[in-house]
Amino acid sequence: MIDRNLNKKLNIFLTLVDKPKAGIPIAIKDNFLTKGIRTTAASKLLNSFIPQYSATVVNKLEANGYSVVGKTNLDAWCHGSSTETSDFGPTLNPWNTDYLSGGSSGGSAAAVSAGIVDVAIGSETAGSIRGPAAWCGVVGVKPTYGRVSRYGVIAMGSSLDCPGVLAKDVVSATKVLKIISGNDPYDATSSNRETEDYELFLTGNVKGLKIGLIENYLLPEMEKEVVDKTLGAIEVLEKLGAIITRVKTLDPKYAIGVYTVVQRAEVSSNLARYDGIRYGNDRNYFGQEAKRRIMLGTHILSSGYQDQYYKKAEKIRTLFNKDFDKLFEGFDVLVGPTMPGPAPKVGVTKGQSMFGEMADVLAEPSAISGLPAVSIPCGFVRRLPIGLQIMGPQFSEGKILNVAYTYEQNHPKF
């Protein structure tokens, strides 16, 4: 049974399932369609939308013994990294309710962090799983683009969107990732590659593994404690036999521009279907942030501007791909802090339309290149959790999960 008081206090679920089916409880971010269960994307525009079909991810989970207990809060249409753009108010951080849970998958991260469920489904366009996982102190896995079907997930940035997992530990995350991965004939961008048995990768052994510590992800403006905790976590892996080398990547700040342009363009297109003819509510029901993104995206795709924005962004995106390709010639995985700092206070995003893009700066390069990444709790700063992220080449989910697992099993008490 879900603690309704706790839920009310933290504002985690937008919809609770009255009588969940028998099975392992799982929370689903409210941008995944669930047949017969209201799905809103945290926008009042879809306030009364009851889907006629379920997302592939939901179908796969139900076929494997999981039971949907509720739909979790998010930034409206995933537009944000705080849940503060939700038309139903923000989800608060279970560690301290004065602070944000992060976003956009803030409800799912908080549901796990508060102990309501062991596993929740989230989605990431750039940082939306890793960010809230780091801020709420849970494990977050963003798989390779195309590894998990997007069918039935309300689209944000279609070339970036990745369904993924938030969980209390690496093993739980791994089990669910295995279930939801794989080709889907209903998603033309889903990979034909066979899904590996990720659990077999969890050996707890990183001896000889070549890990690149991304030096320039240790931002100059970072609190010293964030840097120290990050380096401390890497030291744990080094002591277990991993070979750590400091590396530099293309400046992640360029990724902010690429990500913003590509995502806004795709958002403006993806939200065009909410034209007031269906779903009961017209376009006035879009919140401030959605309206802003629609306008910016429309401008980016306009003739005369497309070359200087959208096409240029796609070119720089290719540069990031090449940069990562080159780095992965020499390294098995790359590591760095997940977020520049711990969760900020509720209300901080007010008037900050680029809050998410700035907060997710360290997730954006790997996101625009479609790479898999895990965020694993690596300690506390000012009594708020922070995360270490482990990124790998495409389809290296097993490998990065093992690094996270090895750290999780061996780190000293925080």
Binding site: P51, Y53, R150, Y151, I154, I277, L301
Partner: protein, 444 residues
């Protein structure tokens, strides 16, 4: 000023026409989902799913058959095939467009830079042949006294090929000839019924007038016209209308016009003040599509002999009159039937005549049936009953000895007598008839 004005009045204007033709493909399923593509006359909104309704989260998965057919149509018009093609999103708001964008092709269509040659018309360059999805259908009606617009999504997502020509036509007859040939080619390829009544072939002509052969700075789009005849009338009307405007020294408004058959006039449907910005960009839901040389080679093998090649061959092989060839070739089934007959009998002209003037291909589903009938008919044709009777009478008169023999019981002389009759009829008599007449004559 006056001088310039007078100069214009004596100018000669010639039409410049380019075409955009939409063809709905007859695939089993829709372009991006598994719903049936055959929507004509179906109960509204019975052939829909999350994908063609554009529901949140639904994703398009391209129909391979439709892509193959689009490429094949491109190849039939001698197009170059892009090794890598993209689907693009074309954005505009309209109630019949559930996603707020239509999935179409922009920068990299499947086929481009083709050409079309036919003896009696100028060469036409084909700019592109691309693939897109059809929209839903709006029905404007009245319910309980209220005027409403209903949306039927059965047509939403049906595969649609668009063929665009360069503005290479300078007269309306060539336009109609081209369109009729395009319709035949599509039917030969078996990729669509190309039926204008049912909307599976839709015509659009961009027409303007030029004083000097250069492309004018405007065009009038003739749209929503569902027959070749009406399109021809609309073009002729437009040429007069535009000539009058230009001769008066005025500017022709760039707009879309339809055809009113009752008034025998075109009428304005929509004025395009600015070019609409569709904000095309590659659809991130659909990875780029590769077409290999091997595929192209295979597709080429699937293309049957096309009407023009067939006409030329029929002329050489069967030496038929031009109008006969045109009629035979206008329908592939009919041409195939004709060639089925020709294999059994070499009376080409008579076979063609029976098909074209007597519709024997409808009476006899098998070519052998027609040929059998042909043989019977050709015999009767050369010796009528009267001719046969008089030949029999003459033979009985001239052959007293065999006649006597027959009457005395030598019945097998009948064969000899039949032979004599046939000789008189130059071998064109009906043996059964000769025998009957002989037996009657010999009994006298």
């Amino acid at each position: 000023m006056l001088l310039i004005h007078m100069n214009k009045t004596i100018q000669n204007f010639n039409p410049v026409v380019g075409l955009e033709v939409h063809i709905e493909l007859a695939t089993k399923s829709k372009m991006f989902c598994g719903c049936p593509a055959d929507h004509f006359g179906k109960k509204p909104n019975t052939q829909t799913c999350p994908v063609c309704l554009g529901l949140p989260g639904a994703l398009p998965v391209p129909n391979k058959k439709a892509i193959e057919w689009c490429v094949i149509l491109g190849l039939a018009f001698d197009c170059e095939i892009n090794k890598e093609s993209n689907f693009d999103r074309k954005h505009y708001f309209y109630p019949d467009l559930p996603k707020g964008y239509q999935i179409s092709q922009y920068d990299d269509p499947f086929a481009h830079s083709g050409k079309f040659q036919m003896n009696n018309i100028h060469n036409v360059r084909v700019r592109r042949v691309h693939m897109e999805e059809d929209t839903a259908k709006l029905q404007h009606t009245e319910i309980d006294g209220k005027r409403v617009s209903l949306v039927d999504f059965n047509r939403s997502g049906v595969p649609l090929v668009e063929l665009v020509t360069e503005p290479d036509f300078d007269n309306v007859d060539d336009v109609v000839t081209f369109l009729q040939e395009l319709q035949r080619i599509v039917r030969y390829l078996g990729i669509s019924e190309a039926d204008m009544e049912k909307g599976s072939m839709r015509l659009e002509a961009n027409l303007s007038l030029t004083p000097d052969g250069t492309l004018p700075g405007y065009k009038v789009e003739l749209k929503n016209i569902n027959s070749f005849r009406f399109l021809k009338k609309a073009m002729l009307y437009e040429i007069d209308r535009q000539r009058e405007i230009l001769t008066a020294g005025k500017k022709v408004i760039q707009e879309t016009r339809g055809w009113d058959e009752e008034k025998s006039a075109t009428f304005s449907q929509r004025v395009k003040e600015d070019a609409q910005d569709y904000r095309y960009f590659p659809d991130p839901d659909i990875p780029p599509i590769e077409i290999t040389q091997l595929q192209i080679t295979n597709y080429k093998l699937q293309i049957p002999e096309l009407p023009q090649a067939k006409r030329e061959r029929f002329e050489i092989d069967y030496k038929l009159p031009g109008d006969f060839i045109d009629i035979l070739v206008s329908d592939k089934a009919r041409a195939d039937y004709f060639e089925g007959c020709v294999k059994l009998n070499n009376n080409y002209k008579a076979i063609a005549d029976l098909i074209i003037n007597k519709k024997f291909d409808e009476k006899y589903p098998e070519p052998a049936g027609l040929v059998k009938k042909l043989v019977e008919l050709t015999n009767v044709e050369f010796s009528t009953q009267d001719e046969t009777q008089s030949a029999v009478n003459l033979v009985i008169m001239d052959n007293q000895k065999p006649v006597e023999d027959y009457k005395n019981g030598k019945v097998n002389v009948i064969g000899y007598l039949i032979g004599m009759v046939q000789k008189r009829l130059e071998g064109k008599g009906n043996t059964k008839l000769i025998q009957d007449f002989l037996l009657k004559g010999l009994q006298k």
